[in-house]
Amino acid sequence: MAVQQKTKHDIKKGCVFDRDGVAYFDYKDYPTLKQYIDYFGNIRNRYYTGVCLKHQKMLKNAIERARFLGMLSYRK
């Protein structure tokens, strides 16, 4: 049987947090949350960051809490 060559779309990087087994995002963990915020203060799309839906929702929760406490901006 011929081995099919993998195309660019077949190779998926996968979620970083899935690999590390992250169960909870802390709103106090500023250095981690900052990576998922763009220049304008918006949450980065998971299409670009490669985060899975489960972790994206958790991230969103943590970022919104951090925004409420003034650690992150709503809009720059």
Binding site: R65, L69, G70, L72
Partner: protein, 185 residues
Amino acid sequence: MPTLVPSNEDVRVYEFAVMYKPDLDQKAESTLLSEIEGHFAEAQGKLLFKDPWSRRGLAYRIAGHDEAKFVIYYYELPPASIRELDRQLRLQKGVLRHLMLIPPKGYEAVSFEAKYQDWLKNRETIEDVRARKREEKTQKTVVDQAKRATKRLETKAKDIAKPVLKMQDLDSQLDKLIADSDLKL
């Protein structure tokens, strides 16, 4: 660092983040904190862990302040007292904002202040990033130049190595041609 587990079924573990004014003097600050802790004591709370943060810059202005101080408390409380506690914290003078939530099961309380200070020390500033990019660019140009130079040398060597007819060979070949009997000059 302690893992937060409630001691009995009647209580739950709660996390409180209290943000207060940064410009208070030491005495006023200690009285404010004691008042806040008094509210928890009134609600029959048991302190599990406390994480005071130093003065931090805010991403946007809150009640005319660009900076604020934070304290993170982990308390064991009966759930019935939460609403009253929320009201007390909202009315407390000097407190800018507060947040109360239930940490997930098996949550381990960690001092985020120490983590943050470490990050501040070791992080890459904008200047560092610029310097790194500049360095990478110069290294790339040096490598490219070296590559081009070697390529040039190789082509030059090839050109030199091409067989050039010597004068003697040329003469002998010419003689051969002239000596040909079929050739009628």
